[in-house]
Symmetry: C2
Subunit: 503 residues, 2 copies
């Protein structure tokens, strides 16, 4: 059992300004800095979770491990807030039977963010404790040991990091800018907001896979180091590969399609996608996580569109059901309307979208791609008209899609391709792919692509290929837009962009 | 509805050697090459799965889409084997009311691996049909249309590709060598063995995550492009990153540990891991899939070891329960003993392993690492003594582990580190990590590591870090060893090694 002030590993490991406990300190065994946990022993002490400290535990003696979120000395008392992930509780160290004045001073001087083991009695609070998640109880501390000591100066304050920007602007209170956050990500990720964002993101991945496995999909693993840049070589990172060189995959598409040609029928994969684009926007990363789907269909690519849309709907519903606490936590700092969607998902044709935009005063051609502002505007128009934050735009002009996109059978200027949008921003791009090597060759030629470079791709379809379609979803964008956040760096733990490679 | 010989897209799309149907062909609407499926229509035709064609469906008329696995003409009849993933059925086209002699000839001439839509009556077979999974029924074909035509010469024959090596050796029958397989992976992945291997691999990932999420872990996404090679720079791939350069992550370890320091407590990730090692062995890849775990513990790293071992046990059990068909399919080509494991998992200390090896005649020092042959031998000794194919080796000598490994608190020559083995091969390496920046600095100096290069790593622990441990599992190795296969390239869909970057 870690114990006794005397067991610390020397003065340099003690909190600042602490005096040696006086010889007459009757509590001297009850606090101190524990020696580093090196798996010396296996005590049978139970550590209770802070979120489980409720009125039902009143008057029980419990051990808790938490971080010192704040501490405030007040005469013969010290109030600590102990934090564990998104939960926190008030702890009181007061001079009395268990605590000496030296112990109160020790507690008051523990650096914020240090990890402590505390033994205390759970007491009902006389009135609701405002700043804590555990509002009905507090902990009356009987022993306190520092398990891991934080350095005294934090690069950012957690309370500043969760403050809504509007409060910062109106009241002049401190908030934390994005680069400071990202430079000190280990601290920034400790905030209730960050904890909630990334727990919810974990949930998105889980719901994505759960749904697809239920639908009979198989998870595949596709290589990230590839020998040829499949879409012509733009925006691709080069890797030195022994005495030669290679590329980082811009998408798993070729490999997903090979799996379809290899009879896996319905596949998905979750993995990093690399884009060497020098785009410094709120929604571009050079490395992001792709949630990718590819599926053989019987007669019509809408069979696939329906499966993808339903998968997203299952994700939205699952988040509502399982992550309500996290959504509310994020909303406190970043207020936003709840995410709305329809069942079945609204599907508009591109020409309808163009008509809606024109009616709103936008001038654009039939075969022109959507600009980012027009995407956003369209999102607002769709929301007004259909009351949904999620919809599918189908039948894009062939001219704005990649060479492997299947042309529309009726109108050769259109294609069997689609994007999906959340709150007016694209989160998925997909299409029926050409599965016929002859047509694929023609289309590649039309696009001026060097056939030699895509020979392996075209050859994949020479030994019988089922009609198929698919798409790729950007995980960070889905997280951002579901939660109504404004920058994809908020939903990437360690974002990569042209200017950031660390931490 | 695709129909009629006349709807083919011209002669070049027809199977070889086919004559134009005679004008007097009474079945001419009942066969042919369909036009490419371009999502022209949404027919309400139901395609039945081959695996669902059983005696219960006898005398029903069904539509099936499958590949022509084999075809054999015999007088006025043609026997086809139609395949769908791991399942296949015999189909008979016979001159009669529905089929003309031209139609039988057409069917007989369809290139193997072409995809066809077939309408037929399910008939009980007079005797078990040996070569097919559906042994009790056959399909009497009434219509047959080619959906996607394969080229006539296949680079490898599927029957050769599933032949057990011993048959090839004994009877001189053809088998397919590994490079031919990998060069033509789209075909090789269609075999029943490959289908089973990769469905089971998908199951491993699913069971890994299912188990950890049940245990309260959070899934994280870690960057693969990193600014500094964390373990000193050996065996790392370099990436050109805009005007600068970067590296591919050799493991997600630093990021997993940062998440622990950021209070996520229990995290896992599944993703590619890159090793620029010029090792051409049966078990090394330059890119593989890591199943990674990191977890804060209370007092002893065995809390983590137990969780990891239990996770693997849950995977083994889940595979037994859910993937029995796949295991049996693989066993047909690669016979092997069922995988054995104990509950709880056997945990031996390194010194015990050294003693067992010495008793078996091996000469080795106390602080010497295990060679590959000794690992294998130890696996056999452990199997003999304890009857398990899975065990943990604990307390490795400190000298053979990385600088961030926590030393043993009692014997400073040992460490709080462990490997896990399946059938005598390492599948996981892990340890308690040093969470104290001061000790970490000392150990890095001892290893002669440039402190400047690992500053960010050490700084992660300066603001309070809980004791933690973790490990990384190689997905391809787990798949290989569970199934008793002999080369990790059999369990990587698109393997990467120093000599292979394609497909």
């Amino acid at each position: 059992m870690p114990s006794a002030a005397g067991r610390g590993q020397g003065k340099d490991r003690r909190p600042d300004n602490e005096e040696q406990p006086a010889a007459d300190d009757y509590a001297k065994e009850r606090y101190g800095v524990s020696s580093m946990i090196q798996s010396q022993e296996k005590p049978d002490r139970v550590l209770v979770r802070i979120k489980d400290l409720t009125e039902e535990k009143a008057d029980e003696v419990v051990w808790v491990r938490g971080r010192v979120h704040t501490s405030r000395a007040k005469g013969k008392q010290c109030f600590l807030v102990l934090r564990q992930q998104q939960f926190n509780i008030q702890a009181l160290v007061a001079v009395g039977q268990h605590a000496s004045k030296q112990m109160v001073k020790f507690a008051a001087n523990i650096n914020k963010e240090s990890i402590v083991d505390v033994e205390g009695v759970v007491r009902k609070a006389h009135q609701k404790i405002g700043g804590c998640t555990q509002q009905d109880v507090e902990l009356h501390v009987q022993r306190i040991y520092v398990i891991s000591l934080a350095e005294p100066r934090l690069p950012l304050q957690l309370d500043d990091a969760v403050r809504p920007e509007v409060e910062g602007e109106e009241d002049g209170r401190a908030t934390v800018n994005q680069d400071t956050r990202l430079d000190n990500r280990v601290i920034d990720l400790r905030t209730s907001t960050s904890q909630a964002v990334f727990c919810l993101q974990s949930g998105i991945c889980q719901l994505f896979r759960e749904t697809l496995i239920r639908k009979g999909f198989v998870e595949i693993q596709t290589p990230k180091i590839i020998s040829a840049a499949s879409e012509g070589g733009a925006n691709v990172f080069t890797v030195s590969y022994f005495k030669s060189s290679a590329y980082l995959a811009q998408s798993p598409q070729l490999y997903k399609q090979m799996c379809i040609c290899a009879d896996f029928e319905k596949v998905f994969c979750v993995g990093p996608v690399f884009r060497a684009e020098d785009s410094n926007t709120h929604r571009h990363l050079t490395e992001f996580v792709g949630l990718d789907i590819e599926m053989a269909f019987n007669y019509h690519y809408h069979e696939v569109v329906d499966e993808i849309a339903d998968t997203l709907v299952q994700i939205f519903k699952g988040l509502q059901e399982r992550f309500q606490t996290e959504i509310q936590t994020v909303n406190k700092q970043f207020p936003c309307e709840p995410f709305k969607f329809l069942e079945p998902t609204l599907r508009l044709e591109y020409r309808e979208a163009v008509a809606m935009l024109r009616e709103a005063g936008v001038e654009m051609g039939d075969e022109e791609d959507l600009s980012t502002p027009n995407e956003k505007l369209l999102g607002r128009l769709v929301k007004e008209k259909y009351d949904t934050d999620f919809y599918i735009l189908d039948k894009y002009p062939l001219a704005v899609r990649p060479f492997y996109t299947m042309p529309d059978p009726v109108n050769p200027k259109n294609s069997n391709s689609y994007d999906m949008f959340m709150r007016g921003e694209e989160i998925l791009s997909g299409a029926q792919r050409i599965h016929d090597p002859q047509l694929l060759t023609e289309r590649a030629k039309h696009h001026g692509i060097d056939l030699e470079k895509i020979k392996a791709y075209i050859d994949s379809f020479r030994f019988g290929a089922p009609p198929h379609a698919g798409g790729g979803i950007g995980l960070e964008r889905v997280t951002m837009l579901y939660l109504g956040l404004h920058n994809v760096r908020q939903t990437s733990m360690f974002p990569r962009d042209p200017k950031r490679l660390t931490p």
